[in-house]
Amino acid sequence: MTTDWQVAWEVMKWPFVASLLFPPLLVYLGLHVVKREVIFVDLALAQVATLGTCVALLMGYHFDDRPTFWISLAVTFLGAAFFSWSRSTKKTPVPQEAIIGITFVVAAAGVILLLSRVAGGKEELEHLLTGDILNVTKGEVGQRLLVFVALGAFYGAFHRRFVLISSDPERAFAERVSVRLWDFLFYAAFALVVVSFVRLAGVLLTFAYLIVPAVCGTMLAQDWMKRLVIGWVVAVSASVLGLWASYSMDLPTGAAIVVAAGVLLAIVGVFTAVRSG
């Protein structure tokens, strides 16, 4: 006779595996986002990806149809191109963060407008926001892993170039690096990561995995590798805590992981304040 824990493990094992395998690349991208001081770019791109999905739903496709993925990716690439074009090293009256925030809000409103024309739109809206990490399957983990490994290799191969552009774009321009091209490549690959993951985890959990562990790593270490390791530990810890809370208190899984990440960030914040005080 199966015990409750055995049943829980059978339900939770693939979400747990996903929370181990995907955070390293997400944390790496989050470190770049924090360095560039464009915190909401991942939230905006995730919302643009959701807008693309809604365009596909309005065209009559279902959420899991292959064309839905490609339409969402195409729309997200447009967003990536827009963000790389809007970045400037010169001081402008309008900071890029304002452009990113506006893009997020307009994309979110666009999602509501489009889903008002789709049967079951309200349920779809909640699904897109909160995701479905609890129902992830072995096949979906495997597919995303292939994408993440390929993109991880791409970012790893050009790590120094991307670090230069993220941390010192003026020097990159001075060294005649094609900053706009590399910015677009960074955001385009970022878009592919976001579109792949937001279909599993939703907008909120994707943003949480990208930013919270990276912020914790940045608060606790100076070196990129140490920040990456700390970020991965925070991401996995938040996942385990969130999955446990979701099971024991019967809570929505994605939201539980996001709150757990927030709690860990608060603990890290208090620790760093005490350490520096």
């Binding site: 199966t2 409750d4 049943v7 829980a8 059978e10 339900v11 049967a119 079951g120 349920e123 699904h127 479905d132 609890l134 129902n135 399957t137 099971y247 019967d250």
Partner: protein, 74 residues
């Protein structure tokens, strides 16, 4: 809750899960994978499913789907 549902379905040999077309089918599919059950759409209103424009067609569709699912489990 899902773990409890899975446990009860296994204990009572429940082999069919009904979902409304607008509900999240993936949760039902997760439960179905654990219990060996079949998931079928069970729309409440006529017109929600193809070839089920009237109330009678909708009921016929539902009964047929359940019968096929239960028959396939034997």
């Amino acid at each position: 809750h899902l773990a409890q549902v899975i446990g009860k379905m296994k204990a009572n040999n429940v082999k069919v899960i009904l979902v409304q077309p607008f509900q999240n089918r993936r949760t039902a599919e997760t439960v179905a994978r654990q219990t060996g059950a079949t998931v079928i759409d069970a729309p409440q209103q006529p017109g929600a499913a193809r070839n089920a424009g009237s109330y009678f067609d909708n009921m016929d569709n539902l009964v047929r789907s359940i019968a096929v699912a239960l028959g396939a489990q034997k």
